[in-house]
Symmetry: C2
Subunit: 111 residues, 2 copies
């Protein structure tokens, strides 16, 4: 992946995953596959798993092991109240950033 996009993902990927989980519970493998579908073509599996471990340790999600017919048991993550709060904060930060960037893009450079 481009080094630029890679660096941009730092900090946003967590928000992206939280946003996905706000739609419905999901497990790692599924999230990775969905991200690839969306064009994040080269996000490594390991990256997503590591991120899920982090948000679990910070108490943003509840976890449940669910047996799978096709492989080892899945760890299904569900966004909890604290996770929703963190997601709200993420959207606020994202909006702030996006506004400033849009301004800059339209030539709103310093006077």
């Amino acid at each position: 992946m481009g080094r630029q996009l890679t660096e941009m993902l730092k900090g946003t990927l967590e928000g992206i995953v939280l946003a996905i989980l706000s739609g419905r519970p999901a497990y790692g493998y599924e999230i990775t596959a969905w991200l690839r579908d969306q064009g994040f073509s080269e996000i490594a599996e390991g990256t997503v798993y590591a991120l899920l471990v982090r948000i679990e340790q910070r108490g943003l999600v509840d976890v449940e092991k669910v047996p799978s017919e096709k492989g080892p048991p899945r760890k299904v993550y569900t966004l909890n109240a604290q996770g929703r709060e963190t997601l709200d904060e993420f959207w606020r930060n994202w909006s702030f950033l996006a506004e400033r960037l849009d301004q800059l893009r339209e030539g709103g450079h310093p006077s």
Copy 2:
């Protein structure tokens, strides 16, 4: 600063600075001050200077020392051709990310 926004800035801050420089040449102290004005209230000075060193080393800007009436000489940075190319790439990446995020925000979660 919020750890979330901090992490989001990784990768975008470079684009922001390049965008500022696409408007007109500027020096570090000035850029820091402008960022604070825009609400990036707690971006450390050291961060901006380190970033400027990086983009200089990657050859995205031309540098000129200009004497100041009020202090030590200023290092004035000007975006060059390669910098403009990197900025274009940044906007492409940003658009890609922003589109996906907007979709997610509107409930476009995985089916």
